[in-house]
């Protein structure tokens, strides 16, 4: 068998240099992966509310102009209000009759807060009479996990994820606001959009909305309202899939993407500089060795092959160790923060693993520049002796 230059000998006998490079690669891998896990958990958690919820429920709060009613056209406020209510009732009837919409009702809402790793998001919880709650739960495909259905004023059912997230228990007060302790939790449900539902307490609300029980074909409430002759203006508020998606991109998706890209670039830049400097200095220290190989009759190709194998081993070790640590850290984060806080996240994110692997391959490509440069400088020992 033909003897070849061994890459293992350097790796085995230069543990300190190898450890520096392998550790740098492993820690950078871990930093990029752990940051991704934490940040993407925020995205995925908010996606459940902001992208899933509007597939089942939309909200509209319309002013009188949307119905074509002007206050000046009526002598008294009562006349104006009666006309407004009639128009609104008419719209609700039309919505109920619209294909793909199960129901629509005009009701109060309170707000539920979902706290993620980065920031929090507040969203609507509809309030309705107890007899309406089963129908609502059926529409959102939710099932009662624990406790009981609300039957008295000021009682709420909250999503299990929201319960974990807020650290609530059945019997706790759900909201503590300016009005004091206002809604009591009587049970938990499980739903895709982290939806909750309650019974009005008669004095506390965060506004009145037309709550539309839509399906995936009727998520464009704005379009539906416009098709019904409603002229939406600045004072009107429609919270449908498009609006939630716009808010999601603006407040969550774009922000997290920007943070991830920035973090990725910073870590990679530092890593690239560190690896480049370390590698160049370690090749400089080995010039005599390369010259010896050339003098003994090894071709440049064989020397380059050894360098490439050494680099592959170093990156292989760094990547394997980094992946192992990263998955360990993700497991710990999942157990300590993500799962107990009711956040939505995973341990394995293949896309990020492949992204980091791709970056490492790119880094290996960049390292070929100093490698090829030093290969060009390899002479035989006579040149050193001269």
């Amino acid at each position: 068998m033909k003897n070849q230059l061994s890459a293992w000998k350097y790796v085995k006998n230069n543990k300190r240099v190898v450890a520096v490079l392998v550790t740098a690669l492993a820690l950078s891998f871990m930093a990029m992966y752990a940051a991704y896990v934490l940040l993407i958990t925020t995205t995925e958690s908010f996606e459940a509310v902001m992208l899933e919820m509007p597939k089942k429920i939309s909200y509209a709060s319309l002013g009188n102009k949307a119905y074509g009613i002007l206050r000046d056209d009526y002598e008294t406020y009562e006349e104006f209000k009666a006309a407004y209510d009639a128009k609104q009732e008419d719209l609700i009837e039309k919505l109920r009759a619209y294909p793909g919409i199960d129901d629509a009702l005009y009701t109060q809402v309170i707000r539920s807060t979902y706290q993620s790793v980065m920031g929090s998001y507040s969203f609507e919880v509809p309030l309705m009479e107890p007899e309406k709650v089963p129908e609502f739960l059926e529409h959102i495909d939710a099932k009662l996990l624990d406790g009981r259905m609300p039957k008295n004023a000021g009682e709420v059912l909250i999503d299990e994820t929201i319960r974990k997230n807020g650290g609530y228990h059945i019997g706790d007060w759900f909201q503590k606001d300016w009005f004091g302790e206002t809604f009591r939790i009587v049970g938990t449900i499980q739903s895709k959009g982290l939806l909750s539902v309650g019974v009005p307490n008669g004095y506390s609300n965060n506004g009145w909305y037309i709550v539309v029980y839509n399906d995936e074909s009727t998520t464009d409430l704005t379009g539906i309202l416009q098709s019904m002759g409603i002229q939406l203006g600045d004072e009107d508020e429609v919270l449908d899939a498009k609006e939630y998606y716009r808010a999601y991109r603006k407040d969550v998706g774009d922000v997290i993407d920007a943070v991830l890209v920035t973090l990725f670039v910073i870590v990679m830049t530092f890593l690239a500089i560190l690896v480049l400097v370390t590698y160049v200095s370690f090749m400089r220290n080995r010039v005599n060795e390369y010259c010896l190989y050339a003098s003994l009759g090894y071709g440049r190709g064989e020397i380059y092959g050894m360098m490439l194998k050494e680099m592959t081993i170093l990156f292989g070790f760094g990547t394997a160790l980094g992946l192992l640590i990263s998955l360990g850290i993700a497991f710990v984060l999942h157990g300590l923060i993500i799962e107990p806080k009711g956040l939505i996240g995973h341990i394995v994110y293949e896309e990020q693993i492949f992204r980091i692997l791709g970056t490492y391959v790119f880094l290996m490509g960049v390292l070929q520049i100093p490698v090829l440069f030093s290969l060009q400088r390899i002479r035989t020992i006579d040149a050193i002796e001269d």
Binding site: K2, K9, S295, G297, E385
Partner: protein, 218 residues
């Protein structure tokens, strides 16, 4: 084995004042024997050895080795000759610092099998290196021991020619004569070319070539 005709080695070719390391040198070398090349610093003895061993290419002239014109062959063939047919002992031992003595010897081996390992062990024993020393790295060996490892490395492929450039320069008197004794023994079957400025180590040489100012003076 070597037929050298009219070789010149000119440094600073592009300047007005050219420096001649070798000036039209003719030489014939046998297949075996210990040949010493002696001369003061700058006499061209090392340059001659490097030209013969394909590490350098002369500016002019012809070097025929085993019927092959060395000045006309390509890099791959030069590398193959150095790998398979030539052995090198340099002035400084040039051992790889992170490898053991054994690995340093085997790094030059053309083949990789148990035979090469056994051969290296035999060389080490003949050279007076103990088993404990085989596993040591160059930093843990004395200058003489390092040079003996370099000799074993030069002999590992049973080369037809060993080129030794000042092989005893870093050794004490006793080690120097030991090294020369080993090279002399090897020269019974093969050609050993020793470049030195120390005449005393060449007392067993079959032929001594004296060089002066790029020419053979004797």
């Amino acid at each position: 084995m070597f037929e050298v005709k009219n070789i010149c080695m000119i440094y600073d070719m592009n300047t007005d004042v050219k420096t001649y390391a070798l000036k039209g040198l003719d030489l014939s070398l046998p297949d075996k024997g210990l040949v010493g090349i002696i001369g003061p610093s700058g006499s061209g003895k090392s340059t001659l050895m490097y030209c013969l061993s394909t590490l350098k290419t002369p500016t002019e002239g012809s070097i025929v080795y085993d019927g092959k014109e060395l000045t006309a062959i390509g890099n791959a063939e030069r590398e193959s000759l150095r790998r398979r047919e030539f052995g090198f002992i340099f002035q400084r031992h040039y051992l790889v610092p992170y490898m053991t003595a054994m690995d340093n010897c085997l790094v030059a081996a053309v083949k990789k099998d148990g035979e090469e390992q056994k051969k290296a062990e035999r060389f080490f024993r003949d050279l007076g290196l103990s088993e404990k020393e085989w596993k040591k790295k160059p930093a843990k060996l004395s200058g003489g021991q390092c040079q003996r490892v370099a000799i074993a490395r030069a002999m590992i492929n049973d080369p037809k020619v060993i080129f030794a450039d000042e092989p005893t320069a870093s050794l004490d008197h006793e080690n120097a004569f030991n090294v020369m004794r080993i090279l002399k023994k090897y020269s019974d079957e093969r050609l050993v070319l020793v470049v030195t400025h120390d005449r005393s180590i060449l007392q067993d040489a079959d032929r001594i070539i004296e060089m002066w100012d790029g020419e053979i003076s004797k």
